[in-house]
């Protein structure tokens, strides 16, 4: 049991980060905090992919003498793409927040709803 828990420690980190990020997105009214939560949520998936790529006793996937087992490099490449997507999402989200701040003078969700409904 203990071995199962410790042996999968990176997956536990993934789960904790994923839930923390997801909870932040749902529970926080501040738009910046929402984007931060979204980022933590996405990063947990990056970790998940990298953990999947690990091969027992495998080394960095660079061919060299004396090494037979290499980690799977494909998941790293996939996650590079996902990181780019994540960066783009964050940039777009932050840009929207700047414009929301200009239009409403606030980045608190409740404030914004109040202003829209009072029209």
């Amino acid at each position: 049991m203990m071995e199962f828990v410790l042996g999968h420690y990176n997956y536990w980190i993934v789960v904790v980060l994923m839930m923390a990020g997801f909870y932040t997105v749902i529970s926080r009214g501040n738009l910046i905090k929402k984007i931060a939560g979204l980022n933590i949520f996405q990063v947990s998936v990056f970790l998940l992919y990298i953990s999947i790529g690990n091969v027992r006793d495998g080394t960095t996937p660079i061919i060299a003498q004396g090494f037979q087992h290499y980690s799977n490099p494909l998941t790293h490449v996939l996650i590079l793409t996902a990181i780019v997507v994540g960066v783009a999402t964050t940039a777009l989200g932050l840009a929207l927040i700047v414009r929301i701040k200009e239009a409403y003078g606030s980045i608190e969700e409740e404030d914004i709803h109040l202003q829209d409904n009072s029209l």
């Binding site: 979204l38 998936v45 999402t89 777009l92 929301i100 914004i112 829209d116």
Partner: protein, 492 residues
């Protein structure tokens, strides 16, 4: 020469054109280039559909890398058909866009608007064509990111919050899809859909695969705005620029439905899905979605929001079709993907023409406009009848197949609910007709002229298509049926 590279050209042409439009100095030139690109995409998509109609399958290896190692584009009847829908709607929207965009978007931003539009088109076409599940995620994000930007360009400030809300929900959906893809990759070691279909059955009993299936289904359901995950849709459609509402309403959710079909039928196989409560869930959410969204539509006072809720209801019908799990149900879904794109694009175009003249989408500002703008009004009525499902319109064909699928399984309750949904559609379409025709014109709207020809012609093209495909069902139903039976047959 071109024929070999058809599928990849469909993605590469709009992708390359996007940065070029960004640096063009004049708005009109950017529009002209986009127009050219969308029409050439339509030509290529139709050509591609013709070459797979007889049951051929096009397999294109990107960069000459053989699948399953390289990315493969795999075209059968279903995705060639969806690609034609996307390209056709883009091509018909573009002539309409010229005037509408000039009125709604700051002239300095118009070239960038078309850049984002082309990227969105690239993403949507890419999703339909690719045979690689990770490539699908990337294209999904390309189309989503560009549509967030496009929605935020609406005139009212609520467009910004609507885009932000969509960004948060859309990213959660896409990340769920990514988690699911990672989990099945960890079990099978492949990302090629066909290869996955071959390897997944040996690990079906693993809990990882079930978890992956759940993640993928929820992620895609968020994208297709399945009730109760539709919360982003009404705001996004209401506040987006008119052209974007037309384009997204007719294509984005339809492409997501296609992804759902592909995942359930090709990747996981229907045998696997039947062991999960998927079909029951689709039935339940489809039924609630139809009733709830139609009722919500009745109470709306903003025409765009009214039609947005109606879209959620229509998605309910499509999901119901999948839920039947029969060839007839699938046929109904695929036919409805096409017909709903026709009717919703026509409706939003007619509404957009009214907005173009009056500058408001609120029903209270529309009193008596129908008599000033008879052509727009007539288009709205005919497209509305198609939405209701009156015989002789395209909408009737979808409803007919959906009800037949319900009757085939002797599911009278569902058949009854589909009819109730149509009756509710009568109520909300009538609401618009009543305001437009039977109320006295406000003093401010009494002098309104008919919409310009550039808006009317695309609208009427779609309206006539609604009538044409209501009488001539050969093309749509035959394609849908052959796609549906092909997917059912692929089940082991």
């Amino acid at each position: 020469m071109i024929e070999q590279h058809l599928s990849i050209l469909l993605v590469v042409i709009p992708l390359l054109a996007a940065p070029i439009t960004a640096i063009l100095p004049r708005a009109r030139i950017a529009w002209l280039l986009t127009l050219l690109i969308t029409w050439s995409c339509l030509l290529l998509a139709v050509w591609q559909l013709q070459s797979v109609l007889d049951g051929n399958i096009i397999s294109y290896e990107l960069g000459g890398w053989a699948p399953p190692w390289g990315i493969e584009y795999r075209i059968d009847t279903l995705n060639a058909f969806v690609a034609v829908i996307v390209a056709a709607i883009a091509a018909i929207t573009l002539p309409y866009a010229l005037r509408s965009v000039e009125q709604e978007i700051d002239p300095r931003h118009i070239p960038l608007f078309y850049t984002a539009f082309l990227l969105c088109l690239t993403g949507l076409l890419g999703i339909t064509l690719t045979g690689d599940i990770f490539n699908l995620f990337v294209f999904l994000e390309i189309s989503s990111l560009s549509s967030y930007a496009l929605i935020s360009m609406g005139r009212q400030r609520q467009a910004l919050t609507a885009a932000f809300q969509y960004l948060v929900m859309g990213t959660i959906g896409a990340t769920f899809l990514l988690i699911g893809i990672g989990l099945i990759y960890s079990e099978t070691g492949t990302l090629n859909m066909l290869d996955l279909a071959g390897r997944l059955p040996s690990v079906f009993e693993l809990r990882t695969v079930h978890t992956a299936f759940a993640f993928i289904m929820i992620g895609v359901a968020l994208k297709l705005a399945l009730f109760p995950l539709h919360l982003w849709l009404p705001n996004a459609y209401t506040y987006a620029p008119t052209v974007i509402t037309i384009f997204l309403a007719a294509t984005a959710t339809k492409v997501a439905i296609y992804v759902m079909l592909r995942m359930v039928y090709t990747v996981f196989s229907i045998g696997f899905a039947e062991d999960t409560p998927l079909n029951e869930m689709f039935m339940l959410l489809g039924v609630i979605g139809v009733l709830f969204a139609s009722l919500s539509a009745i109470y709306q006072t903003n025409s765009k929001r009214l039609l947005a809720y109606s879209s959620v209801a229509q998605i309910g019908y499509m999901v119901l079709g999948i839920g039947f799990g029969s060839v007839l149900g699938l046929t109904a879904t695929i036919v409805h993907i096409f017909n709903h794109a026709l009717m919703k694009a026509a409706l939003f175009m007619a509404v957009g023409a009214l907005i173009y003249r009056v500058g408001s989408s609120h029903l209270r500002d529309w009193n008596g406009l129908g008599r000033q703008m008879p052509w727009t009004f007539a288009a709205l009525v005919i497209a509305g009848l198609s939405l209701i499902g009156l015989p002789g319109t395209a909408g009737f064909i979808s409803k007919w197949y959906l009800v037949s699928a319900a009757v085939e399984q002797q599911n009278w309750l569902i058949a009854f609910i589909i009819l109730v949904g149509s009756l509710l559609a009568v109520v909300y379409v009538w609401k618009m007709v009543e305001v437009l025709f039977f109320r006295d014109a406000n003093t401010s709207t009494a002098e309104t002229r008919e919409a310009p020809l550039l808006l009317l012609v695309p609208t009427w093209l779609l309206v006539l298509a609604n009538l044409y495909f209501g009488f001539n069902t050969e093309l749509t139903v035959d394609i849908a049926r052959s796609a549906a039976s092909m997917m059912e047959a692929s089940a082991p």
